[in-house]
Every structure is written in C-alpha cells, then in structure tokens.
Symmetry: C2
Subunit: 388 residues, 2 copies
Amino acid sequence: MTEVRVAGVGLTRFGSHPDRTGRDLFATAAERAFADADVPRADVARLNYGNFIGALAEQQGHQAPLMAEAAGIRAPATRYESACASAGVAVREAVRTIRAGDADVVLAGGMERMTNLETPAVTEGLAMAADDLFEVHAGVTFPGAYALLARAYFEAHGGTRRDLAHVAVKNHANAVPNEYAQFRDPISVRDALDAPPVADPLHLYDACPITDGASAIVLVSASYAADNDIDAPVAVTGAGQGSDRMALADRADLTRTPAAVAAAETAYDAAGVEPDDVDLAEVHDCFTIAEVLAIESLGLAEPGAGVAAARDGVTTADGDTPVNLSGGLKAKGHPVGATGGSQIVEVTRLLRGDHPNSEHVPDARVGVAHNAGGTVASAVVHVLEVAR
Amino acid sequence: MTEVRVAGVGLTRFGSHPDRTGRDLFATAAERAFADADVPRADVARLNYGNFIGALAEQQGHQAPLMAEAAGIRAPATRYESACASAGVAVREAVRTIRAGDADVVLAGGMERMTNLETPAVTEGLAMAADDLFEVHAGVTFPGAYALLARAYFEAHGGTRRDLAHVAVKNHANAVPNEYAQFRDPISVRDALDAPPVADPLHLYDACPITDGASAIVLVSASYAADNDIDAPVAVTGAGQGSDRMALADRADLTRTPAAVAAAETAYDAAGVEPDDVDLAEVHDCFTIAEVLAIESLGLAEPGAGVAAARDGVTTADGDTPVNLSGGLKAKGHPVGATGGSQIVEVTRLLRGDHPNSEHVPDARVGVAHNAGGTVASAVVHVLEVAR
C-alpha cells in the first residue's frame, strides 16, 4: 500500500459570502491549497468534490467538472454526496485511490453555499438528509431529530442542558483565534442556558450556524512527495466509512451511532492505532449532542461518559484530548459539503504546528477527523499522523 | 490487479411508474441483480449508487444509505453524481475498488424518478447538468445545447436530418424485443422526419424520453467468483473517466467530445483492446447526434463518418458493430441516474447470450459502454469481455 500524505490545505473564511458564487469559493480554497502544497496543478490526476444542496442553492448539479475548471485543473472530476459527510467521503475515496496506486496527486474537498437561501429553504434543504417519506413528512427537521437523540441520551445516561452548554462554550472559545471561523466571540454557560429554545432540550447555542465556505486538500503519495521534494509531514494513515438506517424510528438504539463506530474501527485498524493514541480530534458537532455521540463513537469516552467530557475539561483546549480546537461546526461554521474537508485541513494544521491553537497540542502526533451525514446514517473517520 | 467480474444484473422496466417510490424501484433492480448473481447480500462490502435530480423529484438527498436499506444490505453506501453519467461513475469506482483489492463484492447502479415532475420542472432539473450561470441563464436547455452540437457537426462534416433519423429508427427497432424498454414500437424514417421540431435541427424522435427506472449490478472479484462457484462469465477489463469544460462556449471544438475520448483511451489501454476489437457498444444517445459523437469518441467511426453509420448499416443490429442493441436512451429510455448502470446490464446480457437481441451478436466477445454527463463535460467508458 502506498502511504498517503497531505501536501497542502486551503479554506475560505467560513461565514456569509453574499457576493461570491460557489465556484468562486472553491477556487479560493484550491488556490490556497496549491500555494500551501507547492504542487503543480498539471500533476493532479483527479478531483474528488463534496456538495450537498447545490441543486437548491445555485440550481447547479454536475458541479465536479465546474469545480475542476475553477481550481484550474484538467482531470476526471467526481461529485460525492453523503449529505453533511459529502467531503469526508470525497477525501476517503481520494485516500483509497492513492493507496491503490491509481493516482499520485488528488485534489479533494467541497463547497456549500447556504446563506443565499432564506432560512426555511435551508431547513428544507438540510431535511433532505433525513428520510423524506417517514421523517420529514412527519414534521421532523434536523434540530428536532437531534433533540430526540439528546432526550434519548439523557434518559439512558443522565446529562443536562448545562453539560451540553459546556460543549458550546468550549467550541466558541476555540474559534476565537481561528481566522477562518464564522463566530469568533466567546460565550458563557449562562449565554447558552439563556438562549431561546430551538427544539427542546436544544437551544440556540446547541446548534451550528448556516454557513458558506469551501475546503480543499492536495493529497499525494509519499513517493511523489519524496521524488518532488514536497514537504508533507502529515500522513493519512487510516480511513473508514459506515452507513446506518436513515430513519431514527428504524434504529435499535438512539444513544449510539453505529455507522461512526464502524468507520472509526476501520480507520483505527488501518492506521494501527487505538483511541488512547489519539491526541486531538475534529468531530461533527452540528449540535452539541452530536459531539457527545461522536467522541463516544471514536472511543474517546465510554458510552454515557461523553456528555461530561467538556464540562470536566477532558476535551477542552488544555484537556487530555482536545476536541474541535478549530471551533467545530458549532462556532467555526458548517458549510455542509465543505465540512469533512475542513476537518482534514484543521487536523493537518494542528499536527504541523501552524494552527493558531497548535500551542495547546505541541506534542500531538495523532489526530482524528469524524464527519457525519444526517443523523449519522453516513459517517467517515480519518486518522492523520505526523509521519515517522 | 484483481480481475472484476459481473456476477448479476437487474433492471426495472423503464418508463412511467407513477405508483412507485425511488427506493421501491431500486429495490426491484437490486432484487433482480441478486437473484441473477446468486450472491448473498451479506457479502456486499459497499454500495455505489448514482442519482441526479432526487432533490427535485423526491426532495430526497443522502439517498445512498436509503438505497442500501432498500436493497437489503448493510454496508458503506455512497452516492455519485455526475449528471447523466452518475451511475457510470458509480460502476467505475466499484471496479476500481475491487481491482485494488479493497472489496470482493460491490453493488453498483442507480435510480431516477422523473415522470412525477411536470415537463418544465424536468427540463429545469436536467439543465442543472449545464453551466447555470453562463448557459442556463442565457436560455440554453439540453435540446438546445445538443442542437448546437448537431449544427456544428453538420457544418464541419456534412450530414442531414435524414442521417440522424436513421439513428432513431435503428434504436427504436432494437427496443422492440427488449422487455425493459419504454418504447417498443418501430418507427420509420418518415415518422422521424415529420415529427415536430424541438430545437432545430433536432425533432421529437431525435430526443430520448423522460423515464423512471433503476439499474443494479453485482460486481465481484474473479477470486470470489471462483471460491464461491459463482457463474460470472463477463469481466470488466477496462474503465476510464474524463472531464471537460462545462460550458459549450468554453470549448475549442464542438464536433468532438474530448472527455469521452480520454475515457475511452483509458478504458481501452486498461483492457488491452483496440476499437477494432469491439463487437458491440451501448452509447449515450440522449439525442441522435450524441450517438454520432459517441461512436467517434470510441473510435468506432472516423471523425465525420459517424453520422452515416446508422444509415449505412454499420451500427444496425446486423451491421459490423451494432450500437445500442438495447434501444439506447432513445427508445429504451433514460432514467438519468440509472442509465450508466443499465448500459452495463445490457452489455452483460448481450455478451452472455441471454439478451433478446443476442441472436444478432452470437460471437461477440468485447462490448463497450459509453455514458456521458451534460454535453459530455463528464464521460465514463467501460470495456466488458467474455472471460477467457
């Protein structure tokens, strides 16, 4: 198997970009990734691109060849769509392609425009990640679905709104120095507790925002990096994907996300690491309860213990295993089709030591990215390591 | 490299299915593929699924895990979207995965529901395969775009509406015995010439219909087939993908489709075959002119000679190289996200000798499938061979 390295990473600022098209956003992320990588565009053998609601936001399907043009590359280009895990899947397939020896250089990433839609249209668009016939037509939107997961968790394991508030406070604090983050003001537990309800027990600060943005990663084989003198100190050593039943009503246990558990097992096995080896993680905290479920899926907390991890300081910036040092979806923002790629960008920067929050993890060698689609009917996990 | 075999194939009837959901259609195709393959669902390591306008037709994104459920499998499931080439890309990535040794059994295919939308909504949906900003907003729809290609071709090489009519007549004739085809009545050259115009020089019989349908293929490694005594006489020996600029205005030459040329070259190289070796082809004839461009891209006709191939009997059922013995998109129908998979199904049946049109190609050993997205901004080519 060929080893896969991250040669370069690029992001747009996450937030509202009312005057920029989707192709423009992806072009910026790609430009930054190529500048970071010092890899010529002519060497790119393929583009793996994630996008979710482009049909609604820009009436634009078939985006992959368009984004290849925007990125200045001529290569086969494929769009992956797994709802909020779209870019995670795109990266995973890029890793697979390089590992198999089918390509030496792949550009992966994603883009989403969301803020140009009215909020009800965004809510409807995001609801397409759930089961339209058996959930959406019954009135479930995503805040409602995750509220059900939070209630089920609280009932099984205990936990309170205050526990979840600590997740939000942590992630907003982490976003303060992140130049790409949508929200860079800290919040207090009191702010979170006093915020208006969205879907009980979730209130405003339990939810991620609506965001425009793009991510791009230049992935290369280790041999290409060596042959071309490319500085690529971070390796993708494991990748895994899992799927689950779409509708919550069809699942046996709402307090676990087996798709993510399966993805994590595959990724850990491929990398030859254990949860104990993980120094930091970027996880899919579209809602605060989602971060709790994520860290339990990754084995960073025992089932039932995840809800207290932020409050107890285990996952804070100065904790044992910092989670979402980027600010997470929660505070950095969640441009759906870009998110899985942006997590790889953040883990790479943290492991390279050039992230504004790198000071909290000076000795980190192993980072994990956890990207989920819908209520985790899809999940992708990557293990990144400082190359030995 | 591991050899890839087609273990089983399944289709729904193509046409109008007003009383069936998308998941129901895919379940039928998968059921038939598993029955044909005699492979247990528990052995499936992944689902690769193509769909284009599900966001509009069923307000359903994130379809891959839903379709895995419908097919009765529990495995990582990924949706590929490359407009009308979505299922072609899904199959190509399945082939890559098996060749790399990452999986022994992959279910690939696709589904589209279209007839439940009003025609203007379908036209708008299909237009998402073109460049929204620079083509669609300028008034170009797909019949208009292909009419431009036909005019450019006629201007460069000659050719007439009568030449194109022969393509339609051929494909409608081929569809007559195909139990899965949408249109099973033959038409005459006169019918085609007298049909109402859609976008000059294309008239009604130059265009494929609006179709619901699904396709599914069980792909396995040759070693899995041998170990499990699976009868899988057809191998996928080559696969290639290409991309091009999206907007016609950005292309140097409207009489060629370089994405398909690149895809064909890759596929032929992998298979170690030449165009001369090809015994039959299923190509992406969304419009009659598209079949002309396709056979030239595949090297089955010289540039400029493709337009006369049907009229001269080269590509008819009893010609040297029969093209679209299934009836093609033109008469069999074009459920967009299923089409690339259905081509693999048809080539497999033709090579196995169990297609109603197999009598025309009793000695066929090499078949090619050509699937295109938009105005061939994406293209996928597969080479299938009777295993030696």
